[in-house]
Symmetry: C2
Subunit: 122 residues, 2 copies
DNA sequence: ATCAAGCATGAACATATGTTCAGGTGTATT
DNA sequence: AATACACCTGAACATATGTTCATGCTTGAT
């Protein structure tokens, strides 16, 4: 049957002090959005592979496409996503575009999440 | 007009040594998928807020819904996603369910990505 | 200038994602 | 036992996402 419109538990059960305390820990909305978007961009197997590969050395779109086993077009689209969040940068050399990781945080994130994932298996 | 079927650049331009070297850096496929899925689960503003809030202290669904300004149902669905990747865990106490971060990696990930995001602004 | 190679992009499509809605579970209180 | 509350879940819906296809763009060679 239909419930209360708000469907949120009554006020006397919400611990206002806890809520207030937790609210202070929240980053401003624009930071939250940026964080979420960054994680979202990291949340695709193809892009994870790209970043892992670039951990070793810079690579051109051509090499990446070959490595990933997908088309250059798909690779280029993914690189665009990664560029949009400044996860990778690139330099042009003649007709080629060489991509590399943008900063050292990316490497740290990948290592940390790998630890989490490996613990989960154990 | 229509191009080559494969649309992948010719072999003589792919640097096979670089590709081989980069390939070695890649985690096994199942780890790649787990990493991507973990990041994907972190890639939503509501879930980011939940995790930031739980950094401070454990909270019940009720408190979280109030904090986020969304319905309990939506909150519960999001918590389910976070549980599926072992990002949060919970304990029952009577009718309430108290959620907290599952391990310390989550905290590290949030801090690291915040550094990345803040650099981007500068 | 013309052509080809490497890369980038726009549109379209199938699939995935997050929310709402309606209802279902389990526990405490009466 | 009956009710109320806190939380959970399945289905449906609108929107977002990633790939493919076709085509532009830019550079280097002829």
């Amino acid at each position: 049957m239909k419930r209360n419109t708000s469907d949120v538990c009554e006020v006397y059960y919400v611990n206002e002090k806890h809520v207030a305390k937790a609210r202070k820990a929240l980053s401003p909305e624009r930071e939250i959005l940026a964080v979420a978007e960054t994680f979202r961009n990291l949340g695709d197997p193809t892009r994870v592979k790209i970043l892992q590969a670039l951990t070793v050395e810079e690579l051109c779109v051509c090499d990446l496409a070959k490595l990933l086993g997908v088309s250059e077009s798909a690779t280029s689209h993914q690189l665009r996503v990664l560029r949009s969040q400044k996860l990778v940068r690139f330099r042009r050399e003649g007709k080629m575009a060489y991509y590399s990781l943008d900063d050292e945080h990316i490497d740290s994130l990948m290592r940390e999440v790998l630890r989490h994932v490996r613990e989960g298996v154990a």
